[in-house]
Amino acid sequence: MKNVDLSTTAVRELNQALHEQAKQLTEREWAVTHPAGQHNIAAGVDEALKIDIHGHAGYYCAGMNKKADVTIHGNVGVGVAENMMSGVVRVKGSASQSAGATAHGGLLVIEGDAGARCGISMKGVDIVVRGDAGHMSCFLGQAGRFVVCGDVGENLGDSLYEVHIYVKGKVKSLGSDCIEKEMRPEHLQELTELLARASVEEDPKAFRRYGSARQLYNFKVDNAHAY
């Protein structure tokens, strides 16, 4: 295992070393200590590495991740795993706003709470939040699965496209064009598998499903009140 102490090593040096693993893999397991809320830690990784960050990370931790399995043993700032393509990012603490923004693939697990706009414009990622999620979560969500085991703030799924949303707790309000939908067997199976993959123990039957009403997909004068 390679140990990198960010109290003595710059984030730039760490990221360069991680990126070079995509060219020649010499060390698969990495432990990062003393992150001290620094930004852009492990951004742009492109190899199946196992990276453990011991402490709190700042903005865009594991941004644009591909293939890597990144665990943050603390809280994270804005945009954790933004635009992730594949791999797994797990936050042991809570995440600030825009977690998993625009992410195309992979799995993001937030074991604490997620701030506002979690999953904004998500494009295929799977997101599981064990705690609560903030307002405007899944805003403009395009594809993927979004699971919240706690409560969700205002305007969940506003202007939603094809994301499957599952919430166990209370939803303060639904955004434009987001509606509650029937939980059919295939959805229960999908949720069961996703919770298992996220190592989250919850009863899938306790969740409700939400999705797009698809009424705002095209301009209609009668829908002007929705905006």
């Binding site: 852009n40 951004a43 742009g44 865009y60 635009n83 825009s98 496209y161 095209n218 301009f219």
Partner: protein, 440 residues
Amino acid sequence: MSKNPPILRESATFDRLTIQEIHRAAETGIYDIRGGGTKRRVPHFDDLLLLGSSISRYPLEGYREKCGTDVILGDRYASKPLHLKIPITIAGMSFGSLSAQAKEALGRGATIVGTSTTTGDGGMTPEERGQSETLVYQYLPSRYGMNPDDIRKADAIEVVLGQGAKPGGGGMLLGMKVTERVAGMRTLPIGVDQRSACRHPDWTGPDDLAIKIAELREITDWEKPIYVKIGATRTYYDVKLAVKAGADVIVLDGMQGGTAATQEVFIEHVGIPILPAIPLAVRALQEMGMHRKVQLIVSGGIRTGADVAKAMALGADAVSIGTAALIALGDNHPSLDEELHKIGSAAGFYDDWHEGKDPAGITTQDPVLSKRLDPVLAGHRLANYLRVLVLEAQTMARACGKSHLRNLDTDDLVALTVEAAAMARVPLAGTSWIPGQQGY
């Protein structure tokens, strides 16, 4: 004595166009959407003149003495800045709004003359990357098709905060152009009216932007230049904030700059022309000691080599063209007049680019129409046009005694109108008066 025919007086306030628009709005209940930039007359480069030389200045021989045209972009922080042969780049336009053939043609034309082209709100296509020697990858609020592999394939990254036709507005691609391929690249259902976000999803404000730029640099190992594109509005402040956030290059787009589709009212009533915006940007850069260190690319209504020369004399390092490039490919060509009449327009007027019916095969996703555009031929047309722009600009620079286009400056300019003098901050022709600069 015969009776004179009545003289009908048209209202200046309620002219025929206004009346037509009120009727259209009353019948449809929705605003008008079109492509392009502002059509209204605004102070522009036509309101400036270059002075040339006589006794007080010494001209260069037009056909003998060299006038350089190259430009380096992005050497503030990037380890691999761009070195273009000419200071005229192709602006960002999406695959989706344009056909794949048009994107390929833009790449071919730009490559022939040694300049860059730019992706748009829809990701990078293989056709475009394959034919563009130098390709700038736009990083937009929607992040459609955004992925780290394409970022690494790009030669520079352009963080788009706005464009001149619609500063503060998001992109728009109506359902008729959201085909299977376009929808797939954008992860959208086929046929939806795609309305892009106007704000980036994971940052707000200039302090966040600095961190976002740092992230993009980290992902690309500090190799690629990072541009920041803004629509011309509160330009002085926006430029200062972009520089502070770490931009290598500022791209400034005036209200004449085109869009693929936006509300007509937005295009005509939001933002400012490029003429007053350039001096605002230059002043901001100069005050920060960053003029020529952070390069300034300007766009919005560049048509001729004279426009290029005047923009550079005002302080730009390069210009960018979009609408003019599409015209060079064949958009609105007179040979299409009959077909354009069939869809309610005419050659020289066609701006319903969002409908995807362009008989030129440029602003369409219709496979039959798209095939009409030969990317090789169209690329050569664009290259020819770019060569003419350069030759024209060089001609004027030599006449001003300049051995490189970058040496043009505001001393080479005068204004024809008080408004242009005030906006461009150059003297009114025949006077030494720059309105607002000498106490009156």
